[in-house]
């Protein structure tokens, strides 16, 4: 039996898997952003300058909270594994009165009611926000949407999310510029470096790379200029390795260059003795250029029984290049197909016989995936290559949390085909949808895969242990799907329809039953008296 619930106050939007963190507009032109949080759906209601948290309290009830945010919403992103939401706002511009708000980063914690808010004031209104995957830092940068008359695109602000605002938090930083501007950020894991373990922020511009020491961000950054004469290679991707954890001198950063067969390796070595008196850093990046034989589309580091290697799929050669960092010696693994992306799956499948990593490669133009076991075989730099052909090339890959982390969800290019790849048995189970706008969401408990189509109001629950799809046809469109932990420890499925005034549908995620579903209508209209129809 369906139940409708008219919301008492709120308006909201939707989010689905990787389509989170977008600033969208409703049919009425109301801007909004939706994030799947830990146990809640967060809706940034930009016009109303508030964030709405919708949390499933039980199988048949969503509870709502609202928290005001600053004016001039720029962007937002979850942090702390979805426990908190960071909201960047430019405030009032121009700021003419004391009541006008300044630019800030607000961090909202919905675990308390009302949500706790930490506000980090900013000097200038900036629109770009990048959250550290480990949630220690946020970097705020000019994202191109600033209202300022004059902007220095190389000014950054680093916020220590674990510390309260103070005179030293946030930390402003102005990158020395050689004509570029930030285009991408990579927070490294903790690296064992000369001078002590620390994390780095790698900033990519269109022509160079800057390293910011996150342990001492007030120090000048280290810039590695990639320009050689009139040629200005553009960094396109970053890979990081700590090497041997006990060795402070073998951490490395790989920089993939756009349209270039060269990869720049930065060996993070001790600052030379003759420069220790003047250099603010105990380490220095020593660049090395390695040619991988063709333009690589991805890079990562992996271990072979012969030691660490840079791994780079080279589609034009249908090969995987293996580069020994210390010598630059390159060998390649013939794959038979062009693969664009690579990911290590050793933590799931275990090391190869020789103690090497196992890499999964997938292709956006060939219907295949490949497992490459890095090890030693006579005359070969690898132990085995196992290719699995598919019906369609892969557009994206979803990870599955434990206990089914041996599975990967491969989305095909045509938008209707999916493959459940079992990394252990190397089986590929197809899942075929009848709509080409089908989206996939994996539950955070790793038990279920949700496939949904906005145009068809269709939803399917696929149990990842048995891969059996159970189809559901909702009354509302399914713009976003959230599989959330309920406050009563159960699991809730919350779907969002972003059409009209928006609507939620609430079901039990483990045993979805439309007769027990509850719908919350008129979300964006707000201030409606709660009504329920049965």
């Amino acid at each position: 039996m369906r139940k409708w619930v008219w919301l008492p106050l709120l308006a909201l939007a939707a989010g689905c898997g990787e389509r989170e963190a977008m600033w969208e507009s409703t049919a009425y032109g109301e801007p909004f952003a939706v994030h799947g949080m830990k146990g809640a759906v967060a809706i940034v209601d930009v016009s109303a300058e508030r964030v709405i948290f919708a949390s499933p309290a039980s199988a048949d009830e969503l509870s709502f909270m609202s928290s005001p945010v600053s004016r001039g919403y720029a962007t937002s992103a979850p942090t702390d594994g979805g426990a908190r939401l960071a909201v960047l706002a430019s405030g009032d511009f121009p700021r003419r009165t004391d009541d006008d708000q300044g630019p800030s980063l607000q961090v909202l914690d919905p675990s308390s009611e009302p949500p706790a808010v930490i506000e980090y004031p900013l000097g200038d209104p900036l629109s770009g926000l990048e959250i550290d995957p480990e949630s220690e830092y946020a970097v705020i940068y000019p994202g191109g949407g600033e209202a300022s008359f004059v902007q220095n695109p190389n000014e950054l602000v680093l916020v220590k999310l674990g510390e309260p605002p103070s005179a030293t938090n946030p930390v402003p930083a102005s990158l020395r510029s050689y004509g570029g501007r930030p285009e991408g950020f990579t927070f490294t894991p903790e690296l064992s470096l000369p001078g002590g373990a620390r994390r780095l922020l790698v900033v990519r511009t269109d022509r160079d790379v800057a390293l910011i020491d996150l342990a001492e961000p007030e120090k000048p950054e280290i810039t590695v200029k990639l320009t050689a004469g009139a040629v200005a290679p553009k960094p396109a991707g970053i890979a990081v390795t700590d090497g041997d954890a006990d060795d402070p001198d073998d951490a490395r950063i790989a920089i993939r260059l756009a349209g270039d067969p060269n990869v720049v390796l930065l060996d993070l070595l001790p600052t030379p003795a003759d420069k220790t008196a003047t250099s603010p850093h105990a380490f220095t990046p020593v660049p090395n250029i390695v040619d991988v034989g063709g333009v690589p589309t991805d890079v990562t580091f992996g271990r072979t029984d012969g030691g660490l290697r840079l791994l780079a799929p080279v589609p034009s050669r249908k090969a995987l290049a293996l580069v020994e960092p210390a010598t630059g010696v390159t060998s390649e693994v013939d794959l038979g197909y062009s693969f664009q992306r690579i990911s290590l799956v050793t933590d799931v499948v275990g090391e190869s016989d020789g103690g090497g990593d196992v890499a999964l490669l997938w292709s956006t133009d060939s219907p295949a995936v490949a497992f490459v076991a890095l090890g030693g075989a006579v005359g070969k730099p690898y132990k085995s290559v196992e290719v699995r052909t598919l019906e369609q090339p892969v557009s994206s890959v979803l990870d599955v949390p434990a206990p089914n982390n041996h599975l990967k969800i491969l989305a095909s290019q045509n938008g209707s085909g999916f493959v459940v790849l079992n990394l252990l048995s190397r089986t590929t189970t197809p899942l075929l949808a009848s709509a080409t706008d089908t989206h996939a969401v994996v539950s955070s408990d790793g038990e279920r895969l949700w496939l949904s189509s906005e145009s068809r109001s269709a939803l399917a629950r696929v149990g990842l242990s048995e891969l059996h799809p159970r189809n559901l046809q909702l009354y509302q469109r399914v713009s976003r799907v959230f599989d959330l932990e309920r406050k009563d420890q159960g699991r809730a499925l919350v779907t969002l329809d972003t059409a009209g005034s928006m609507a939620f549908t609430l079901l039990d995620a483990k045993t979805p039953d439309l007769t027990q579903s509850r719908e919350y209508l008129g979300i964006l209209l707000g201030d409606y008296a709660k009504e329920e129809a049965q």
Binding site: K219, T227, G293, V329, S331, V333, G379, P381
Partner: protein
Amino acid sequence: MKRRCLRALGRWAWIASTTAILGCGAGGVEDGGVPGEGTGGGGGGFGEPGTGGSGGQTLPPETELESSYGAPVATGKFVWVANPSSGRVAYIDAESLEINVVDAGNAPTFVAPVPDPEDDVALVLNVLSLDATLFRAKGGSVTARSFEVPSSGNAWAVSADGHFAIAWTDAKLVDTADPIDGYQDITVLDLTKSEGGESALNVGYRPVAMGFSADAKRAFAVTQDGITVIGLDGGSPAVIKNIDLGTSLSDSAVHEDVSITPDGALALVRREGDPEVGVFSLATGEKTTVVLSGPVTDLDLSPDGKVAVAVVRETGEVALLPIPDIATAPGAFTTISVPDTTVGSASLPPESTLSFLYTNAVPSSVLATIDTADPQKPPSYFKLWAPIQAVFSTRDASHAVVLHSTADVPGSQYPAAMSVLPVTANLPAKLQGLDGPVVSVAVAPLGHRALVATGDEMNPAYRLYVTKMPSLEVTSVKLASQPISAGIVAGADRGYVAQKHPDGRITFVDFKTGEIRTLTGFELASQVVDGSGE
């Protein structure tokens, strides 16, 4: 017929280098004599497109560019390498492997080490700006001084005391040299003068070698017109005479083998197929003819200049010509018979009275030694297991690296081979198959290591073989690209092998730890800005 690229001026000239670059001319292997130590560098220059390193499978050629960098030279602890296209010279601290780049003139191309008791000094010829830059590294900084070099050139000769340098043109290094081009212009630089110091002079037609007397009061140009003597002890350098070496009017004007005694008093001349050795007084031009038992196939001066070793392959005899007495008593020399094998070449270590005798004119695997200080002592013989091509001894002759041809070894799949021979210990030699043709050999002055670099365009088995002595352990290291030259940085106890790469590539071997490290992209390494001084 035995090939010779350059044998004039004995062992005292600065042209003798740390490295032996093999395969000069149209193929074959040259007797490189005894590789020098401490300073020096190889020839080479601007090569063909490099080839990617070989791993399990051979990579395609690195097709983008020709190498911009020439062969490096080493001073105390630095390796210097010029980049003609950028106008800069990279110098690498072989201890820290820190790379720095300094500006030179237009198209810095030919680098020479300059002996200096305190500093690391190198001289580079800028071929387009017709000048030279003298770099002096001291206390972590490098100073530069320019000299005009109106003659330009493609080679350097530097006096042993670092006082003078001569820029000259070796016609053998000029492709399709016009017969009318005599390359007679040279420029003598007085490196001690803070201003001026350049002297443009003319020598005979087509010089083939250039060098200095040990006291640096004279310089000598071996040309097709004879030996041009240059006085350096006057107010300014000047040509003071030309010694006619007796070339007949119908001769093709090719001096096969000219050695000049370290004191600059005598020149010894050998011609192919001629049983006579001409001994010329460089003071008076007077000639003394020494007649031997057959055509002289090799003529070498001992490092101390006290004896010349003349090999007569036809009769199996070696004549020891006492210097300077042979000039006044041409019949007063000792003849040693070397029976039971064929010997046509001699190789004299710098700090030993032993002379290595062998032939590479016919397949012969027997190496003989005689003691020039004890002519009564019968020759010693070492039976090796492949035909000998060349011998490279340690300074004290305790060990020798012997290169072999495998063309006449039935059933061998190796394109080349080498033996490491413990000469004085009288133990069996270790035979090592090589995966590619030998490009360069370098022997450490301490005699504890030797480097053999292999691989060319036809056989891209790019490898560096590191030989430990006295253990005779040989380890092989893959190289990422085609080697140009190997060398020793004695002050850092490292060896290196420079390789073809558009951005510059060099691989260092730490003789203490065995660590291998390749540096690629010298200019890039100089583009790290760490905030020093900010």
